[in-house]
């Protein structure tokens, strides 16, 4: 072994020892922070009548309509995915609320618009301009 290799090995070993000896206590596990998320629809159209959306994220459940003027059907496709049909005169804004397992991981919650039909039942050919966002109900502008 050359002296250069020996020098690198010493440095690495010193680093490992230093890292493991952090005052000698157990690692701290933060508990999840459950809460309500608000799921909102963005649309550029004014005559949407129904939408099929999906939302993924840790521990979603207890979906409710965020608006008295819409009707929803929803289902847990998996512990981390809900799918919902929302019907009514849809406009940009909150459409659903859901119980989320951990608001600390809010960035992991994502929504997708899968289908949209207008109020005559005609399916939108493209979904450009549509988006679903998920925010904490306590967040400013969540509407919750």
């Amino acid at each position: 072994m050359s002296w250069i290799k020996k020098g690198w090995s010493a440095l690495i070993l010193a680093g490992v020892i230093a890292g493991c000896s952090d005052e000698g206590s157990d690692p701290i596990i933060e508990p999840p922070v459950p809460g309500i998320v608000v799921i909102s629809l963005s649309t550029t159209n004014v005559d949407d009548g129904a939408a099929l959306i999906s939302v993924t994220g840790p521990g979603l459940s207890a979906v409710q309509s965020a608006s008295g003027s819409t009707e929803i059907e929803w289902r847990l496709a998996s512990p981390n995915e809900i799918r919902a049909i929302v019907m009514g005169d849809l406009v940009t804004g909150p459409i659903l609320t859901a119980q989320a397992a951990d608001l600390r991981r809010l960035s992991e919650y994502r929504g997708t618009v899968e289908e949209v039909a207008d109020r005559d039942g005609v399916l939108r050919a493209g979904l450009a301009g549509y988006a679903v966002t998920v925010v904490s109900q306590s967040a400013p502008g969540s509407g919750g």
Binding site: G49, A50, A51, L52, A62, V63, Q64, S65, E71, I72, E73, W74, R75, L76, A77, R83, A84, I85, M87, E115, V116, A117, D118, R119, G121, V122, L123
Partner: protein, 604 residues
């Protein structure tokens, strides 16, 4: 005191008069005052068409001939007679009445007939029937022309009386009469029963496939159809000059119009097309053994091939000047016909001959498969003649019958001829439902199935089918056994959207795209034979729940079948797949919320 009755022109049976009446006055009369006009128009058209009926002078007599013995002008001094006697007397002087008493048992049907004008007497006789209590129970004036007739079923045994008087009290030397106290004996085809009613002047009859009966109502100028369930529907109205109808060897529903043509009707829609034109007042027609069509015109017969091309012409000699009202072709191929007279004529090669002569007006004709000929007379009777024209059964049926009467054998649901023999009743002496009705003879009185003249059309089965919207469908139409190489085509109507007919196989297939019921006409042809059939396909909607649709859209595998997905898209936005737009439309269509297949959350 005498009275002169002025008979209208049409009452003379003049051809030009009744044709004019049928073409113009009949429908107008019928429309003016519906119910009253119906009866009046029927009578007017009847007389215009057939003239005043001429009857035999009473039924066949088996009793004694009794001369009146004056005084017999009241119930208390009536002459004694017995049923089936004939009383001979004179209404003299004016105001005279002659009474006769007789004993008769309960349930007996009396047929009391007084002949005066028919024996050359100037008397216009009026008949009255009196009960044992001395009250009048039946009355008639003018049945056979001015002669009168009463048919009465005796409700209880006892001594009854009948009286003869002159209309308005007329009488005098030479006002003779013959009073026949007949008893109506039921024939083997009695009692007849109602097959359909509600017509006004039913004349032309044609037995269609699927057991249906087509009826030409001359008074109302309309074509009607009676379903196998007895329901009557109108196919076409205001058919000017409608007279006779027939179904030819190619299964076409044809009709003669007095205005000069033979037309074809769509048996489903009533749409009319000209088949033959340029005729001179065509009345009756019949299909020949080779499928040709024989049409009676004013002076003769003209035959046409199956495409409507003229073949030959025969002038009538024996019945010159008479109007042909009914025609039938025998199993031997001979054309037979009746006019408004008391004869049946047969056409041999180029001449016509009288083969049956009777006392009554002979009207409808129908051969059975053995060549026996049923003849309806205008007086409410059906007789049967054997192939040599000897009277085989003098009265096959006489109940609930009143002329003019036509005859037809029904086909069954598969198009085969049956022994079900129907008689149309214009309704002389009858009340509804028999007046304007069509009655069926008791099967016991009908010796064999009817003869089907002409080429028998190709019979087709598979008249009804059910399909489910969105689900693949295949329905095989079948020609009768033993026939191959059939070509099929849609002739009328529309198939349910999404279905097609395969011309080479007779398969109706595809995926129905709409719910509902579609009736269309199919034409099949093989070896020169043609068949037509009415096919009904009923497309049902499948049972699909809101929950199953929602579950499908939410990702539940197996919530819907492929057929259901297709159905929902077809009743939705029809973009080729099931989507949230279809769901929205399904809900908007009134679909109710039901329990869900999968446990899902739901909030309204």
């Amino acid at each position: 005191m005498s009275r002169t009755r002025t008979r209208p022109l049409w009452a003379h049976g003049c051809l030009c008069a009744w044709v004019a009446l049928l073409v113009t006055a009949g429908p107008v009369l019928a429309q003016a005052r519906p119910e009253q006009a119906k009866a009046a128009a029927a009578q007017a058209v009847y007389r215009g068409l057939f003239g005043d009926p001429v009857a035999p002078i009473g039924p066949a007599r088996v009793g004694a001939e009794v001369n009146e013995s004056e005084p017999n002008g009241s119930l208390s001094d009536a002459d004694a007679v017995e049923v089936e006697d004939v009383a001979v007397g004179t209404i003299d002087p004016a105001g005279d009445q002659d009474f006769y008493w007789f004993t008769v048992g309960e349930g007996t049907t009396l047929e009391i007939d007084v002949a005066a004008r028919r024996i050359g007497s100037p008397l216009d006789p009026v008949l009255r029937l009196w009960s044992p209590a001395g009250s009048m129970v039946a009355y008639n004036d003018d049945h056979y022309g001015l002669d009168s007739r009463i048919v009465y079923e005796v409700p209880r045994s006892g001594v009854y009386a009948v009286s003869v008087a002159g209309f308005g009290g007329e009488g005098g030397p030479g006002y003779h009469y013959r009073l026949n106290l007949g008893v109506v004996a039921p024939g083997p085809g009695d009692p007849t029963t109602i097959f359909a009613t509600g017509f006004t002047g039913p004349w032309g009859l044609a037995a269609g496939p699927e057991g249906r009966l087509f009826v030409a109502d001359l008074v109302r100028s309309r074509l009607q159809v009676v379903g196998s369930d007895g329901e009557v529907n109108t196919l076409a109205e205001n058919v000017e000059g409608l007279f006779d109808i027939a179904i030819d060897g190619d299964g076409r529903l044809l009709a003669t119009l007095l205005t000069g043509s033979v037309v074809e009707f769509d048996p489903e829609t009533g749409a009319m097309e000209t088949f033959i034109n340029g005729l001179t007042r065509p009345t009756a027609f019949a299909v020949g053994l080779d499928g040709s069509l024989w049409v009676a015109e004013s002076e003769g017969f003209t035959s046409f091939d199956r495409s409507g091309e003229r073949i030959e012409r025969l002038e009538r000699s024996e019945s010159e000047g008479e109007t042909v009202i009914s025609m039938a072709v025998s199993p031997a191929g001979a054309l037979h016909y009746t006019t408004e007279r008391q004869r049946v004529y047969r056409v041999d090669e180029t001449e016509d001959h009288t083969v049956i002569e009777s006392g009554g007006v002979l009207e409808g004709l129908a051969f059975d498969q053995d060549g026996y000929l049923y003849v309806a007379d205008g007086m409410g009777r059906v007789d049967l003649y054997d192939p040599s024209y000897a009277l085989a059964v003098p009265v096959v049926a006489r109940s609930n019958l009143g002329g003019p009467s036509n005859l037809v054998f029904l086909r069954d649901s598969e198009g085969h001829m049956t022994s079900r023999l129907l008689v149309s009743n214009w309704g002389r002496g009858l009340e509804p439902p028999y007046r304007g009705g069509i009655v069926e003879l008791d099967l016991e009185g009908v010796r064999a199935p009817g003869f089907l003249a002409g080429l028998d059309y190709l019979r087709i089965s598979g008249a009804e089918a059910e399909a489910v919207m969105g689900a693949p469908f295949a329905h095989q139409l079948e020609a009768e056994a033993g026939v191959s190489g059939v070509s099929w085509q849609l002739e009328g109507g529309e198939l349910p959207p999404g279905l097609t007919l395969i011309a080479g196989t007779g398969l109706v297939e595809g995926i129905p795209e709409e719910a509902g019921s579609w009736t269309f006409r199919i034409r099949a042809e093989a070896d020169g034979r043609v068949g037509r059939a009415r096919i009904t396909v009923t497309v049902l909607e499948p049972v699909v729940t809101v929950a199953s649709i929602a579950n499908h859209l939410l990702g539940v595998v197996g919530a819907l079948t492929v057929d259901h997905e297709r159905y929902l898209d077809l009743r939705g936005n029809r973009n080729g797949r099931l989507d949230v737009g279809d769901y929205l439309l399904f809900r908007a269509g009134g679909a109710s919320t039901v329990s869900l297949l999968e446990p899902i959350g739901r909030e309204e």
